[in-house]
Amino acid sequence: MTSRWGALRDLLYGMTGYEFARHAMQIRHELESVFMVVTMGDLIGVPVLPPYYSLRLLPYVVPQIETWKRHMVRRKELWEKPEYDLLEM
């Protein structure tokens, strides 16, 4: 059982496994961003999930909220820079 899987895993892990895992985590990270927006969007003024259910999930994301909000604000600053402001052009 473990041997065959183990061999395959060792092969993958040994060759490209590390990168593969990193790649998976990267996608996972991006999905996390999307997930936070759809569930906690209220926090940054984009309500998506009905607030009653959003509150239900809140306790689980308490530690993430600070970093996530900072992240979103950074993005917003980027978009609000004059050189990106299409209306002014």
Partner: protein, 340 residues
């Protein structure tokens, strides 16, 4: 078919709603049906999310926000107090956060968020929605009679069920995808056990409940939606429009009940002119109603001499509505008015 026949011949339709425009008699007919069913030995819960507390009015008891209150044998009535529910819910969330992270108090930013989210109108809507889901999925009564607020709101509620259903399904799927990537990464790192994803569990819990309740409410085998109409101008057209809309949301329409029909015998008596005119007018609209809804009409409910409040009055109306001679085939309305 009569209303009574619908209940007797389709016992699996345990979720009952009377819908219609404001003030046509939804609460009155819900209470009457609930009373009659309880008398037939069924365990019945009649419930409402109306902040007007109309069940308290009709049963002449203060039941608002008190959970299911026994009314007569086999009959319970419940009025959801949405504000209170939200307040209690906020406290639950705060407690959960404190417990999870061993905090004395909830961080200010988080608490501000809890308060801001709770002040939104969408919070009340979703809290009410969840209250209904809660009542429906428990399923421990034989009958659930949902005393609806006027049409627009009812339709809004039912469309909301569809939207929530789609949303929660998508979000749960997203979370499951995330989980797969976690799994992948964990496998690659030779980590055997992946911690349980509590968020995913919560989402699945929410999704399954929403799915279950919207499945029930759109299932003709389990739910019966009765339209209440009265013989008055505009009602027929409005009802036809509403019925078309409802059909689009898969609302299982079971038939029409014509309320507030004036007793035709009165016309022989010496009655004031205005009443005579009203009867003549009603005659015209009754013809229109029969022409429009035909065999889908399940009952003609007489206009009582005063507002229907209190159990004796409900009982009398139940006799008229469900008695042997009731229903459109019954001698009274069929031989009298409204029949084609």
């Amino acid at each position: 078919m009569s209303l009574r026949r619908v209940f007797e011949s389709q016992p699996h339709r345990r979720y009952i709603m009377f819908g219609g425009k404001g003030g046509l008699g939804k609460t009155t007919l819900s209470a009457t049906a609930a009373f009659w069913l309880a008398g037939q030995g069924k365990r019945v819960l009649i419930f409402s999310v109306d902040p007007q507390a109309s069940l308290s009015d009709i049963f002449q008891r203060d039941i608002f926000g008190k959970g299911p209150v026994p009314i007569v044998q086999n009959l319970w009535a419940e009025e959801v107090d949405a504000d209170r529910r939200i307040r209690e819910y906020q406290d639950e969330i705060r407690k959960k956060i404190r417990d999870m992270y061993g905090l004395d108090r909830v961080p200010e930013e988080i608490d501000n968020y809890i308060q801001a989210a709770s002040a939104e109108p969408a919070m009340e809507e979703s809290a009410i929605f969840d209250a209904v889901v809660d009542i429906i999925v428990k399923g421990d009564y034989d009958y659930y009679i949902y005393d609806l607020v006027p049409l627009g709101h009812a339709l809004y509620y039912l469309s909301m069920a569809k939207v929530y259903d789609e949303w929660i399904t998508k979000i749960t799927k997203l979370r499951e995808d995330m989980r797969q990537y976690d799994q992948m990464a964990a496998t690659m790192r030779r980590e055997k056990v992946l911690e349980e994803d509590q968020i995913l569990n919560e989402l699945i819990y929410i999704r399954d409940r929403i799915n279950a309740s919207s499945r029930i409410l759109t299932d003709r085998a389990q739910t019966a939606f009765f339209f209440v109409v009265v013989p008055e101008e505009m009602i027929i057209l409005d009802t036809k429009r509403a019925a078309e809309l409802f059909a689009r949301f898969d609302v299982p329409i079971a038939g029409y009940v014509v309320n507030r029909v004036l007793p035709r015998e009165l016309i022989q008596a010496s009655i004031p002119e205005y009443l005579r005119n009203r009867i003549t007018m009603q005659d015209r609209y009754l013809k229109e109603i029969t022409a429009t809804f035909g065999s889908q009409i399940l009952a003609y409910v007489p206009e009582m001499e005063r507002d229907v409040t209190g159990l004796p009055m409900i009982e009398r109306l139940a006799e008229r509505l469900f008695g042997e001679a009731s229903g459109p085939e019954g001698p009274e309305p069929a031989g009298g008015r409204g029949a084609p």
